[in-house]
Amino acid sequence: MIEEALEYIRSNPDGVLQSDLWKALGIDSRKCSRIVAKLLKDGLITREEELAEGVRTYRLRAVERPACTDRFTPLMASDIFDPCAGCTDECVPERCPKLSEWLFALAFSKSTGQKPHAAASL
């Protein structure tokens, strides 16, 4: 539901009134407040007070993210992608061999002065 709320806010460039958001999503206003609080906490939206038909509400706007292709390159270590993505093994990060391999690749890149995340080489 959080993703749906965010998508709805993003699809409205002028922002969405919080009083309209819960109606559009078919949820009650209390649940909507909790979702909005979470989105605000994650820095995904901004909120401004506004009066709509004499009632105080908030206008919610999605935070613009630059379409930066490099934003997620820290998921790479040399040419190894984030080992946790899609992983279905029992999760023990302290001893996980796949996470160790990824970390050793990072440490190796650091010690040899190679680019730590060479996404361009994919």
Binding site: D82, C84, P93, A119
Partner: protein, 168 residues
Amino acid sequence: MVAVENPIHRAYLLKIVGEEGLKIVEAMPEGEEVTDEHIAEITGISLNTVRRSLYLLYEHRLAVYRRKRDPDSGWLTYLWKICPEALDSALEAEVRKLINKLNARLRYEKDHVFYACVNGCARFVFEEATENNFICPFCQGSLEYMENSTIVEVIEERIKELSAALCS
């Protein structure tokens, strides 16, 4: 067709659904619904693989489906649509997950002293090394102290970089 050009998006899809899965994604028409049978037909990939890949994409919110019942036969048809616009939010979720795992690993690396086999078999914490009398249980080579400050540094750096990816 969905063109996956961003190398990180490609790497992510490869990790989740493999090479055949990536072929399936690239064969899907953008913004249109399509049956799994049609995708199997145009890609030459087995229907089982197509279905498995589509369900994996669905689990990662990268695909959606709608069921349609044939009024004559009563059979259900699944109509699939790919959601390439959800890739960034899926990657953000992966970043959050990885940060949590790296924090757990960082605590472990800071709280333990490590010994490694001289022949490179494995790494052991001090307690395990003493239990084995500093002899590798796999090759009988000796276990020597292993400095892990580089690992600690790279984890700390990478946590910062990943956190910045969420804020940028």
